[in-house]
Symmetry: C4
Subunit: 267 residues, 4 copies
Amino acid sequence: MLAGMDVLPRRGFLLASAAAAANVAIRLSAQQVSRESLVDDVVTANHVLAAQEIFDAFGHISVRTGPGAGRYLISRSVAPAQVIAADIMEMDLDSKPVGNEKRTSYRERFIHGEIYRVRPDVMSIVHCHAPSLIPFGITKVPLRPVYHNSSFVGEGIPVFEIREAGSDTNMLVETPELGKALAKSLGNKPAVLMRGHGAVIVGKNIVEAVARSVYLEVNARVQAQAMAMGQRVTYLDEGEVKKRSADPDPYGRAWDLWKRQATQGNR
Amino acid sequence: MLAGMDVLPRRGFLLASAAAAANVAIRLSAQQVSRESLVDDVVTANHVLAAQEIFDAFGHISVRTGPGAGRYLISRSVAPAQVIAADIMEMDLDSKPVGNEKRTSYRERFIHGEIYRVRPDVMSIVHCHAPSLIPFGITKVPLRPVYHNSSFVGEGIPVFEIREAGSDTNMLVETPELGKALAKSLGNKPAVLMRGHGAVIVGKNIVEAVARSVYLEVNARVQAQAMAMGQRVTYLDEGEVKKRSADPDPYGRAWDLWKRQATQGNR
Amino acid sequence: MLAGMDVLPRRGFLLASAAAAANVAIRLSAQQVSRESLVDDVVTANHVLAAQEIFDAFGHISVRTGPGAGRYLISRSVAPAQVIAADIMEMDLDSKPVGNEKRTSYRERFIHGEIYRVRPDVMSIVHCHAPSLIPFGITKVPLRPVYHNSSFVGEGIPVFEIREAGSDTNMLVETPELGKALAKSLGNKPAVLMRGHGAVIVGKNIVEAVARSVYLEVNARVQAQAMAMGQRVTYLDEGEVKKRSADPDPYGRAWDLWKRQATQGNR
Amino acid sequence: MLAGMDVLPRRGFLLASAAAAANVAIRLSAQQVSRESLVDDVVTANHVLAAQEIFDAFGHISVRTGPGAGRYLISRSVAPAQVIAADIMEMDLDSKPVGNEKRTSYRERFIHGEIYRVRPDVMSIVHCHAPSLIPFGITKVPLRPVYHNSSFVGEGIPVFEIREAGSDTNMLVETPELGKALAKSLGNKPAVLMRGHGAVIVGKNIVEAVARSVYLEVNARVQAQAMAMGQRVTYLDEGEVKKRSADPDPYGRAWDLWKRQATQGNR
């Protein structure tokens, strides 16, 4: 599992979206580097979320091309573990491919376009079907923060009921209208559960979107277990959530590990 | 885990059974190709279901040789993860080997023959013992649809009680009579649980049979967890089940991934 | 995971203990072969039970050297996954090493000697600490058969309470007296739970002892889940247990797979 | 998984901290060997705890440099699975790096320094976030000993409530004051849970700290399952805990295995 780890150099990971977020004037050449780096990040994030079992054969992640940009990058419609750089497409906020693109992305791509449209702070979006999350969407039990690495849960995780958005659906968010309804359910929160379906998790960069996806799932498992013990549960309080969420880079160490494991096939 | 994935070409997978289902006039050479392709599919499906932990050392999957055909392909009696092309046998609907075959297949092969006999729509059948399914067979709690990828559960998953079919059995469906009784329990449904034993899952092609097996198991785990939270559960409703089940190819992306992982030993 | 499986020949596995059980007159040379084969089996069984997570760093398995023999083979005191042929020692029924042996075996070796002494039908013994079994030893909930591959559970799985055998112990069966008390608790059953500690599983050959260990653990998980659903559970009845237990070789297919996975490092 | 295990030599593992504990007069050269060996142990322990899933991308382990020493070794701030020898730093009991060290260790390093300060018997400390432990910190259900390899739980596992130590924290023990409060909660016990965060586990050497971490987690899972069965649970009693804890080296066999698996990438 950790074979050969010791002899491999560890390289700092240049987070392109973070650099972009710094909002510096970017020269053309830097911009090209940034695009390549963003594509790499999307590929890596797909592999990381598959390795962490947040994705199975389904699920997708996107990244906005830059602060305030009306474009995002996402893979064409393949399983996350199989995504390669050549699969990444550029979409506008109507979730239509940019340029002469003939390939199609995921049917539920509207999740991404419609959230980017109304959440300028969001730079990356994950859509997953992690089984542990489902019970909290199909019952009235709200997800609440039980774990310091999941403190963002304390900001509130609403539930999207697709029946209220469109009667008689096939459960999929496959129209702009359903995407808008989902974005409205999400509001200004870090994630939204989708009843009988999964969740959407957002972040101010790709690392945050990925790590929140991982720790949302851990929170769900821990909370379910604690509630099953039949006693009052002490959740993180408002001050703890606020202070913990103020941490500028709580997940960098995790991303560094996950990226390397995904790249090298170690886990 | 994902080692080397990026540098390997991704090839579209020609689903032989889908081609056959199109019901075109097939020339002899095409038929030979189709047979080879069907055998490959059965081998792959065995490995996929082992990798997905739907099979352990036991379990089997078969495929009908063509639309309306009175023959099916299944492995001789070996553990699913070990099945190779040379193990695949052809059986008639009495579950007797065709031709001069001296080898024996699984003792419970009658499950396959008797279901193919009465379900012309069924092109592939899985029999498994996945532990998560057992509690729903030994209690009166019915499996109900909680997850969009398991929407077919909403069509109804009956339970086969072998005591009603034959008093004093060893639990195994090892006679044509028990096979017929099981097929009757299944009726026109996508799957049937077997009390204290496992389940049988059917599909209009091998991809559907495999994917339904995977997502039946996920549904069982999610439903059990949701029920344990002690509140009313919102299941997919009739309209959602119907609309979702109308999707012509909901699992293609999964099969493409699973096939590749099984072939390359990645997971 | 299954990489390269297709190109490797599958060889029938000659089960030495089964051959021995046939009770034929064995010539010296055959006896030597048999010993080598038995040693191989003990090594393989150690690796299989580690791979199946019945053993962690602890646990042991032994095999009697022949029908009616007053000797058994067991590893010296190392973790099961690390056992190699050179580690296998021969012990008498007092659990003392035979000959000039200077090495020591497990502290709880008396489990093996004392059971072989009073159970001539037993040819192989497993001692494990599988966590799923513990709840059934520390509560009054009896293990009952819920799964056809675990039908032997219906013969009854008693619980050994070490406090009744010796006041003020360190929980370990590390004396002949405690071994005798454990053997008495086991009686003529296929397994006995040890309160707050683990279980001992016996078999008429090494395959049965290994497979029963695997399926005892599955039964515990399934039964706990079914009971948690808060409804009456239908267990296998006496006739089903009896008929299923009459099967002369229910686990051969599993052993063939497990042996190969353990030998080749695939899983 | 076990590929190639048989052909590799097994070497006895020289536990440097045990040697040090023997409190012999150590010559300079021996001391240098010991330091190298201690560093190796810290690296290995990081990999072992990651492989055992006690650590995810977060968590840390330290070792005191010698009996009575006011120094300890710990990695700089990287994920445990990635730690290499060059990452190990030496800290004083104020958790300040010794010498000209420019790198920074974990933000919660004060956990280590403050416990070493008040617990001369402690030679190694683990801080982890294992999800199974969290429910016992956020409810009033105390961890109690259910498993012989977790007998130390019977010495008592207190819960650290950070709200009592400092109002309005971000949950992290990132000051000397919080470290002191945590050390006070721990008292003379083998471990302390941290509400909504994780746990700290201590040992008289690195093997004990690692193994206690592993078996504390097993105990939590087993206890939760047993309690869910809704019946009175029989815990290890005082005498059993005392006698079991008197064992001078209960975990050596486990360490030998884990170390080898971590070193060779087998698991």
